[in-house]
Assembly symmetry: C2
């Protein structure tokens, strides 16, 4: 009997501090695999709804406890499903304790600062579950592919990212990062579907087609970035994402396990309130 897949099998090995960067071999993960799927879309949807209810309960405790924070980083090529993941995984979660932060191309003001400036200002506060829809990782991907930064600058950025994430972790933030891994052919189908449906044109930027032409360069930039920034305190997971229902279930399971590991609980009852009668 085949070994049951574990979430940790999809975790990128931790950066070991060595001088030589270890590139993670993205081709070792099959984009079309569905290791955490329950066999059908319906079963996956049912499981997702079950996890959703648990996430909602855990998030309420996170909010009540006001001592910890959670940061989920979502990265992936265009159409890899970052938006869809947020919609599906957080459907049951109370919007009160959730903050979604989309990062677009940096503005002039943002570019006038260091690349972590705009990221830091959006870091989660106590009790918050924060989702970064794209993130500081864009700054070691786009400029890398466009050759706007050289190897040295890129390695400095990796280091600054590790240190920034260490600061978050040291301050009580649990950080997890998901790379939504789709195949080039799956992207072709999804882009084509957007083009073929005029009501989806607003989601489409012609620069998406330019980025697609550099598919291999982006895969390479991701592979290096993942290898250089997966750490014990801020691990990267590679999520096979050609199947949307698998992608959702896997990320939900990962988040569930993460929150379950945080020892979340309602704060103790207040002795001063015992027996108080409201008039």
């Amino acid at each position: 009997m085949a070994k049951k897949p574990e979430l940790d099998d999809f975790r990128v090995p931790f950066f070991d501090g060595g001088k030589k960067l270890k590139t993670f071999d993205l081709t070792s993960v099959d984009c079309a695999a569905k290791p955490f799927s329950l066999g059908s879309k319906e079963a996956d949807r049912a499981r997702l709804s079950e996890i959703g209810a648990q996430l909602d309960e855990l998030q309420e405790k996170l909010h009540a406890q006001r001592s910890q924070r959670v940061l989920l980083v979502l990265q992936g090529m265009d159409t890899s499903g970052k938006d869809g993941t947020i919609r599906a995984v957080f459907h049951e979660v109370d919007p009160l304790g959730l903050r979604i932060v989309p990062f677009k191309a940096p503005t002039e003001t943002e570019l006038a600062h260091d690349f972590l400036w705009r990221i830091h200002s959006q870091a989660p506060k106590v009790g918050e579950l924060c989702v970064f829809n794209r993130s500081h990782y864009e700054d070691v991907l786009v400029p890398r592919v466009l050759n706007a930064i050289d190897d040295d600058e890129c390695e400095r950025r990796y280091r600054h990212i590790r240190e920034f994430e260490a600061l978050q972790a040291d301050s009580g933030t649990t950080v997890i990062k998901c790379f939504l891994h789709i195949s080039k052919d799956e992207q072709r189908q999804r882009l084509q579907a957007r083009i073929d449906d005029p009501t989806k044109h607003w989601k489409f930027d012609t620069s998406d087609l330019e980025a697609r032409k550099q598919w291999d360069d982006y895969q390479k930039a991701y592979a290096t970035a993942l290898g250089a920034t997966s750490t014990e305190f801020a691990p990267w997971y590679v999520v096979p994402a050609d199947s949307k229902s698998h992608r959702n279930v896997m990320i939900a399971e990962l988040l569930l396990r993460t929150l379950q590991g945080m020892k979340l609980a309602f704060p103790p009852a207040k002795e001063t309130l015992k027996g108080v009668i409201v008039e």
Copy 2:
């Protein structure tokens, strides 16, 4: 046959620019009324879910269109159900296009600025549906009851609020404001329920009991503030909120009508994408 209630029956008459402030008579609205309820909690829940699906669709268009914004302000006494409203009304809405902004007691930095500074920085951006959980109205309530500001300062603040909201409206933001109207007895029951359930103690602040002692002063401060700041471009609605299911349905209906009135639509198809084949 009795006249079917209209949402506009619960709208606070617009400030007419007169010198003399018109206080809105809050006692004219029965907190226990359920004018928009469908007769049972189950029916209300079903209607809420129906509206939720429509809100979700409209919000996607708002997001796609990227030219308008929506700001919903929620105010009410402690336990009036601001959190519960957000949870219930936005359950179906994609968290991607929604931003919930809670305003707590101002920090030292916030107090070092004018009272609208922290509010302005959180104003919605294009495509966003933003919910303020408490707001700038706290600054004409708490200090008013505590006599920290006099009549003149209070009227100046009303004017600044009207002008601030006019700026939002002129910039393409649709502003609606809901006062969640509960009775003093309903609050007593809800506070007592929080005290009696130790897992709810974290929601309880002993200052809540202090504010309750000044119930009448708060009602008066609300009545004056609503009268002075209900405008055509940022109307106040008084929501009978002793019944949670009624409160949810009424606010959802209000939001639905508001979004339906905004002529939201997906942007036109891009001619340049016509016939494009992705390679």
